[in-house]
């Protein structure tokens, strides 16, 4: 019994809050359904694009390189955050931290070198075509050309 | 050390035979027979050189023990007494016979075939000599694997299904044996502080009634499945029927005996009280198996399945005799096992010979063969008479000894098997009649048996007569072992004096 009350008491406000949220949202939807006016004209259905009439398909394909760039940015940006934290406390952390940071940056460099060698940084189509591995690259290339829309 | 050689020679011989098959298929067969022959000589020499030991009750003929997994109290403990010796000799004898006669139907991979036959023989010998329960279980399981290959690779049409059924049935039951062994091990270890799988140590474990009954049932299940006792015999006709000749001989002649041996050596002595309270049920099962097997044999048209069901019937006698647990009945069980091994082996050889000649195992398509193959017919008649237990043949002595002791225990229990033997007369004589008498279907010329076939069948016929006329050497060999076993577990002997009390006690 003790356990149950101990458990319920902190959760009770949360539950009440959730119920209130659900009630209000439902209320808003139901009220607008009954109180709001409805129009069914042609211009109300298409998506709004700054006054322009939309063209082309809504399913836009982006080049794979786009995701690569995004991922590399995320990875290397995160490393920068670590280095920043170390940099502001350089003196307190001392030499051992310096060595550790060297190791860290070394690992990062190795990774960068590897990516470079793999051709992950060659974003232009021409640079990739000159790479050696024929089978993999050609099929990747074909897929890349396929999906590029612009 | 002799005992290790007894197991090791077939193992080595198997490898040699496998290698020799690359040179010439015949060489592999000759090598196998040689290895088994040497082994047989070794076993007989053990018998001869230890006559002294046999006369002193309870003395083992030979014994070896090395530690194996000391932490769990497991050791390699092999020992041999008269009972083991007789069964080992039977195994080797039937092994030689099965290798000798099965050359013609093993054209495919003869080396691998002989490897499997010899290894399964080696494992069966180990089963008969292991006195450490863990070692016993290992050997018990290992004898299945080569036999599985023998059935599945060289059997007849439905071989794979039969082999899998055989393996799954026996392995499932033996897992319960393993659990029961472990249960006994821990009960004994917890009580005494001596954790050991050794037979001698476990022999007088004090068990509560409930624990005893459960553990005993674990043992009984595994042994009963191997023996082909009536409700657990589902795999048996398929396996016996589909196996190649050597497989059938070893299955019926030896492997079924491992179940009986397990009951005699382990199940009753280890759990005397529990066995006592179970014995009535077991004896009824045995008596039922005698009648059931005989009736089923009457309805078979496949010759090999017919022989398989007669095995069920004969193993019913064995089960009955074991649970009567008297000096006479156990001696009878030993004789029954040996003579059944020889009879069943010979009948399977005859069945294989007929199948080769006529091209079918369907008994309804035989008929009128006596004119063409009189020698084969004569020998078949001898074994058919052995099957029904004619005086002067081995099975008669075994059955009479079992029934005598049963009679002293309870008259109704002895009457049912006698009714079963009446059916035995019918199926065995009818079998001969359907094969050799009557109208002869038009068929091309058939050769009578001669050469190797005649020699091996003749030896077996001579043996079965010897067993029937002068069984004393066999009985003398097993007597000390049987006495010792009975003395170690006198409580296992059931006491049923009259039918009235039988009814009053009710079924356990």
């Amino acid at each position: 019994m003790n356990h149950r009350t101990a458990l319920i008491s902190p959760l009770l406000p949360l539950a009440l809050y959730g119920a209130a949220v659900a009630l209000i949202v439902c209320g808003m939807v139901v009220t607008s359904h009954f109180a709001g006016g409805r129009r069914k004209h042609r211009p109300t259905t298409p998506p709004y694009e700054s006054g322009m009439t939309p063209t082309g398909s809504t399913h836009i394909h982006l080049s794979v390189s786009y995701y690569l760039v995004a991922m590399f940015f995320l990875i290397f940006d995160l490393e920068a955050a670590f280095i920043f934290a170390w940099a502001v406390s350089l003196k307190q952390a001392g030499w051992s931290a310096f060595v550790e940071m060297l190791v860290f940056v070394g690992v990062l460099m190795a990774g960068l070198g590897y990516l470079w060698h793999e051709g992950a940084l060659d974003w232009g189509p021409s640079a990739r075509r000159s790479k050696s591995k024929p089978r993999e690259e050609s099929s990747l290339q074909a897929r890349g050309d396929d999906v590029r829309q612009d | 050390m002799m005992l290790v050689w007894l197991i090791g020679i077939p193992l080595l011989g198997g490898v040699l035979a496998w290698a020799a098959a690359r040179v010439h298929p015949r060489a592999s067969q000759v090598l196998s027979i040689a290895a088994l022959g040497i082994d047989l000589c070794l076993a007989l020499w053990l018998r001869g050189s230890h006559v002294q030991a046999l006369t002193q009750s309870g003395a083992w003929i030979a014994q070896v023990q090395w530690p194996w997994i000391p932490r769990m109290g497991i050791s390699v403990h092999l020992a041999m007494d008269g009972l083991s010796l007789l069964l080992v000799v039977l195994t080797l004898f039937l092994g030689i016979m099965s290798v000798a006669v099965s050359s013609s139907d093993v054209r495919d991979r003869p080396g691998f075939f002989h490897l499997n036959v010899l290894w399964s023989i080696s494992a069966m010998i180990a089963v008969f000599m292991a006195l450490d329960l863990f070692l016993f279980y290992v050997a018990w399981e290992l004898m299945l694997v080569p036999m599985y290959f023998i059935i599945a690779l060289w059997g007849s049409e439905n071989r794979i299904r039969a082999a899998v059924k055989f393996f799954v049935f026996t392995q499932a039951s033996s897992l319960f044996l393993l659990i029961a062994i472990l249960g006994l091990y821990f009960v004994h270890g917890n009580a005494t502080g001596n954790y050991s799988f050794d037979y001698a140590a476990l022999l007088h474990t004090a068990l509560s009634h409930r624990a005893g009954v459960w553990l005993m049932l674990g043992f009984f299940l595994a042994f009963a499945v191997k023996l082909g006792v009536f409700p657990f015999h589902g795999w048996l006709p398929d396996a016996y029927g589909e196996a190649p000749l050597a497989g059938s001989i070893l299955l019926a002649g030896v492997m079924a005996k491992t179940g009986a041996y397990g009951l005699i050596r382990f199940c009753l002595p280890l759990f005397p009280q529990a066995s006592n309270s179970f014995s009535l049920a077991a004896m009824i099962l045995g008596a039922a198996a005698i009648v059931y097997g005989a009736l089923m044999a009457l309805g078979q048209t496949d010759l090999k399945r017919l022989i398989a069901y007669t095995s069920v019937s004969h193993m019913g006698f064995v089960l009955l005799g074991i649970y009567v647990w008297g000096q006479l009945s156990l001696q009878g069980v030993v004789l029954q096992m040996i003579s059944h091994g020889i009879t069943a082996g010979a009948l399977f050889m005859i069945a294989a010979g007929l199948e080769k000649r006529i091209g079918t195992r369907d008994i309804t398509r035989y008929g009128g063969l006596w004119h063409v193959t009189p020698r084969l017919g004569g020998i078949t008649l001898v074994f058919a008479l052995a099957l029904m237990g004619l005086p002067g043949l081995g099975t008669f002595v075994g059955e009479v000894l079992i029934l005598l002791d049963t009679f002293r225990l309870s008259i109704p229990l002895a009457v049912i098997p006698i009714a079963g033997t009446v059916f035995a007369v019918v199926y065995s004589l009818w079998m001969v009649q359907r094969i050799f008498m009557g109208e002869s279907a038009p068929r091309p010329h058939i050769a009578d048996c001669r050469g190797r076939e005649l020699l091996s069948l003749g030896i077996m016929a001579a043996l079965i007569v010897w067993l029937g006329v002068y069984p004393k050497p066999f009985l003398d060999t097993s007597a000390p072992a049987v006495t010792e076993l009975r003395q170690s577990a006198p409580e296992a002997r059931p006491v049923i004096t009259s039918p009235r009390e039988l009814l009053a006690r009710g079924l356990p």
Binding site: H3, A110, G113, W116 | R71, F149, L153, F167, L178
Partner: protein
């Protein structure tokens, strides 16, 4: 971070350094061989340094990792299995256009993650290890990315695995919310207390479901057959050995305090998982025609057997479970090594592909048959000894429902192991049916890779050695794990 700690971390450092070296080697040399060599050397060095640490007093390296006999044993097991997989991949990729560099990289990272899991003593390190191991595994499963099956395997592993991780993290959060601790020692103390709060129970169950997913216990097993089938054979071997061993190590270390008294919800769930896995795994394997799928379902059942020993809650139970995992890892490695060795352009994986194998390659067929016998628990194989120890733990603790479930389900399992064995020893299908698979037949006459044969041979020898004379290994495990 003093020298002592660096010493204790040396196995981790060796593997981490190897992964960096693989990247550098890939930029410096064009050939594929250095990457494989570095991987093998790195894993070997990790194994050697693990061996050098044996016998030291247990020590906590930061609050995150606890290096003791137990963690060292499982790290060593993980490293040894990983070494086997690396050797297999040498032969496997020699026959393919696709390079092995990234495979080695992911293999090393995933191994590192598995080692962290086995040594973790804190939620943070556990999560780190699990994610590192998982992140390496997804691309390993999808490595043959020009075959749809492999891509499917990768996705099928990735998506549920992420969900499982979410459950795990949520469970950790609930446990932390209730107790305010995240290290295993304090949680174990809560586990030994007589009663547990509801929040704690829910949290622990969520953690359990995450672990159960990684072990593919029923009902968290749905990904298993497709991943095993689609992944390249060495990757399958990795999933079957390394990832299982590490998670079993974690499971036993983390949940052991909760199995002492079987009345709580965690122990009851573990019982249910064990029984369901044993039966479902064996029953579902019955109708399979694909060797990798058979091994997948059998792995489900085998993890159920491990749980049986673990649930005994005794010292013998833990040692038996560890022995069983070791036995299973050796056996699975042996079996999948055969699949990997026989595979060429197309994976050799259906039962029809190996029909008549014993006539063409007697040694390989024999080893595969022995591996199947070991999975089935036939004497003189390590699998039998493992099952014997598991059963003895079960009988000793009198957990009869689990013990009998094990006996019955493993008898069911015999059926499909025997099928695989007998197919190899039959004659090849007659020529009229053979026209579908000329490539399969052609692959049978190729020479096999030496490195792969070394891995297979070692696994096979260990399988028989520990099956015939298991005493020393059992004593070693008892000494390592018992501490």
């Amino acid at each position: 971070m003093n020298l002592e700690n660096l010493m204790l971390l040396s196995p981790f450092i060796a593997v981490a350094l190897a992964s960096i070296a693989v990247m550098l080697a890939a930029t410096l040399w064009k050939t594929r061989f250095p990457a494989l060599l570095i991987t093998v050397v790195g894993l070997g060095a990790g194994l050697a340094s693990t061996g050098a640490l044996v016998g030291r007093a247990p020590a906590a390296v930061t609050p995150l990792l606890l290096i003791n006999g137990y963690s060292l044993y499982f790290s060593g097991l993980v490293l040894a299995c990983s070494l086997g997989v690396a050797l297999l991949s040498m032969g496997y990729f020699a026959r393919r256009e696709q390079g092995p560099v990234q495979f080695c990289l992911f293999l090393l990272l995933s191994t590192l993650g598995a080692m962290v899991i086995a040594s973790s003593s804190h939620f943070a390190s556990l999560l780190l290890g699990l994610e590192l191991q998982g992140a390496g595994l997804y691309p390993l499963a999808a490595y043959a990315r020009f075959t749809p099956a492999s891509i499917e395997a990768g996705i099928k592993y990735l998506v549920p695995s992420t969900v499982a991780s979410a459950f795990l993290v949520f469970g950790m959060a609930l446990v932390y919310a209730d107790s305010g601790v995240m290290d295993f020692g304090s949680i174990a103390a809560i586990g030994r207390a007589p009663a547990m709060s509801l929040l704690m129970t829910v949290g622990l169950l969520m953690i359990l479901s995450g672990a159960a997913f990684k072990l593919a216990l029923v009902p968290f097993h749905l990904w298993t057959p497709d991943v095993y089938q689609g992944a390249p054979a060495p990757a399958t071997a990795f999933v079957a050995t390394v990832s299982k061993a590490a998670v079993v190590g974690l499971l036993m270390r983390f949940f052991a305090p909760f199995t002492d008294h079987g009345s709580n919800a965690v122990a009851a769930s573990l019982w249910a998982l064990a029984i369901a896995s044993m039966f479902a795994g064996n029953l579902l394997a019955l109708r399979q025609e694909n060797i990798k799928r058979i091994i997948a379902y059998s792995s489900i059942a085998h993890m159920g057997y491990v749980l049986v020993a673990f649930l005994c809650g005794t010292a013998l139970g833990i040692v038996s479970a560890t022995y069983y995992v070791t036995a299973y890892a050796i056996t699975a490695l042996c079996a999948l090594a055969v699949v990997s060795l026989l595979s060429h352009a197309k994976e050799t994986e259906s039962l029809a592909d190996i029909r008549g194998l014993a006539l063409r390659r007697p040694l390989v067929a024999f080893l595969f048959a022995v591996a199947m016998m070991s999975l089935a628990g036939i004497p003189f194989t390590v699998g039998f000894i493992g099952k014997f120890y598991v059963l003895s733990a079960g009988v000793q603790s009198r957990v009869w429902p689990l013990t009998f479930s094990l006996a019955v389900s493993s008898a069911i399992g015999l059926y499909y192991y025997l099928r695989v064995v007998i197919v190899m020893y039959r004659h090849p299908a007659p020529a009229s049916e053979k026209d579908a698979g000329p490539s399969a037949m052609a692959g049978m006459s190729r020479p096999l890779s030496a490195a792969g044969m070394i891995a297979l041979g070692t696994a096979g020898v260990l399988l028989v050695c520990f099956g015939v004379y298991p005493g020393p290994l059992f004593d070693f495990i008892a000494w390592m794990v018992g501490s």
